[in-house]
Amino acid sequence: MSGRPPAESASPADGAADRSPVEDADVCVIGAGPAGGIVAERLAQAGREVVVLEAGPRFDFDDRLARQERAIRPAYDRPDVWDGDPERDAHSASGEWFYPLNHARVKGVGGSTLHWQGMVMRLHEDDFRSETARGVGVDWPLEYDDLRPYYAEAERELGVAGGEDNPFAPPREEPFPMEAFPPSYSDGLFAEACDELGIEMHSVPNARNSEPYDDRSACVGYGTCQPVCPSGAKYDATVHVERAESKGATVIDRAPVQRLEHGPDAIDAAVYATPDGEYRQAADAFVIACGGVETPRLLLLSESSHYPDGLANSSGLVGRYFMDHLFAGMGGLLDEPTRQNHVGFLTSESHQFYDGADAEFAPFKLEFFNYDGPSPVEMALSGDDWGDDLLERLRSEYGNHVGLGALVEQLPREDSYVALDYDRTDDRGNPVPDVHWNVGDRALRTIERVNEIQRELLEELGAEITWQVGPEDTGPAYHHMGTTRMGTDPTESVVGPDLRTHDLENCWIASSSVFPTGGAMNPTLTIATLALKATDHVLESV
């Protein structure tokens, strides 16, 4: 191994040699992201015969530096980093707000965590009772206390580095598995302004090793966490998928499930395509873990005479209530160095405003950036200059940026949904998912409020403000929630608090698609938490 392997050298690994179905499978897990990976590992550990069907390929760990080069070089788009395929991944976006779906997910063993940022916080207690506490949205059929032990377990599973310095976080019983990452230099600059304004900063829980953990190295500061961590210090779901395999699970890659064959009360088999033809995987139980867009899509594609509107869709709510977190941000320039872009993750946030949420204003959290402004290497590759002129440009444009972000909750709305677009098909002739994304006034009003706080902070810091993302140009944080919501009433929800579909006795869903409301915390820790809970319920029945 020497130096940097070129960007073109990365290609999907060969993957499974034999893609035929597993005989006598107890459980078929569909999707190999964190949700599917965790479920598969736990079930295999408990001695069940598990098969995982994954639509995308397997990736080779040794290709990660080459993929990193794709992240840096302008010739490659973000979806190219993980071999996105525009035909396979075709989609529509017919809502009021455009939804860039293929920037928001990865298909392959590891799922979207290959690309993710890796911030992992627990939802707050009020997030589970939005209607009761805030007068909007719905209550979850679970409370924070029901999930508390699962949260602790999920933090160990993902390997979370965090501190107990966050006075706004919900109660917890034990320390994080690893120490938090220390604050950045620019956090220190913000700290003074925050003190002046009475805003409390605290550490960020990261699914990223601050020390060696779980046979993975500590973070080495590559700075390209999103979309690829070459060292493996950032958690991704290959961790769980590989562990599941070591415990006897079979993982079949490049095996997109086309439809679920079923009777009135149960699924019989998953029909999946492969490079060498279509197969049928039977099992006693099925866990759908395809993410918040493909999960409802697969159910809708599996319609039948029993379920003319889509499988498990007696409520008519499969695909409804699509939610994401909204981004609000602002940044500018200081007249001193701010040391950005050394690492690709955040070390400080403020959750101070979160629990002030009510019917008018949504919960939100503030983020202090460590990577605002341009990265010199990326700038160097896209100018018309070189030599001394280029260096001069890099010196004048890099160095003094500061930035703030925020995530804002949006409420579930029936007119925000994932449906099938019958006018467009993917590479296998299936109607593509249409992410029809609508947002709502409470979120937009809250973004305005967030911008005000961000402006105050930047002005206090003495920054010249150069960019803003506000209510007109906000975008999604790539967290797909709500499309198979959880509830106790089968006419108003798709799964119960045991994560099993109301309609089918052997089908569970592990995904943020079950979130009745979204809060404003990044969802994946809660996804992992619910995946652990779903596993317990599956084990009660197979």
């Binding site: 050298s9 990193q68 500061g221 700075g223 890099y398």
Partner: protein, 182 residues
């Protein structure tokens, strides 16, 4: 500012090989067994090296020294990949063909000024890089940006701009916490 081996093989440290091993390498250790040429038998590795070095003297800022060893070491990693080596070879052959036609000499033998104007005439300054694109886009990808990527993702290249741990370089957990040099 002096480019070092550390810059060229920065990736090694992150892969657990560690600083000590890197420091202990000598020239013959580049490319695992020093047989990068053997692995891409059909490419003219010497010409690629010469051409990229000649281009580096144009696209790198004047204050950078140690270019020859840096470019050589970086390329050894790149030439190990046969697809990349072949594309580099083809691009360099095209560069020489055009240099012969326009200037009557191979690119590497032109004066620094000649190389600079050649790269501009070929359109590599304004082209967007594209490995499968036009000649200008390929020269931008395989020659100009290949070199700029090597430099500005290295600690020495980063330091020139004020970031000793640039994106793409595993510079550890300390630099993001540190303030600017007084």
């Amino acid at each position: 500012m002096e480019l070092t081996r550390r810059d060229a093989v920065a990736a090694l440290a992150a892969l657990g090989v560690g600083g000590a091993a890197v420091a202990g390498l000598d020239r013959s250790d580049w490319g695992a067994s020093g047989d990068a040429d053997a692995r891409a038998e059909t490419v003219d590795a010497d010409r690629i090296r010469e051409t990229l070095l000649a281009a580096a003297e144009v696209v790198y800022p004047r204050e950078v020294t140690g270019i020859e060893e840096f470019v050589g070491a970086f390329l050894e990693g790149r030439l190990e990949d046969p697809t990349h080596a072949t594309a580099l070879d083809e691009t360099v052959a095209k560069v020489d063909e055009l240099a012969e036609a326009w200037y009557g000499a191979r690119f590497a033998t032109l004066s620094a000024g000649g190389r600079e104007s050649f790269l501009r005439e070929v359109g590599a300054d304004t082209a967007d890089e594209d490995p499968d694109g036009t000649t200008a886009e390929r020269v931008r990808y395989y020659v100009v940006n290949e070199l700029l990527l090597a430099l500005y993702a290295s600690p020495t290249g980063g330091e020139l701009v004020g970031i000793e741990n640039p994106q793409g370089h595993p510079g550890g957990m300390d630099t993001y916490q540190r303030g600017p040099e007084p």
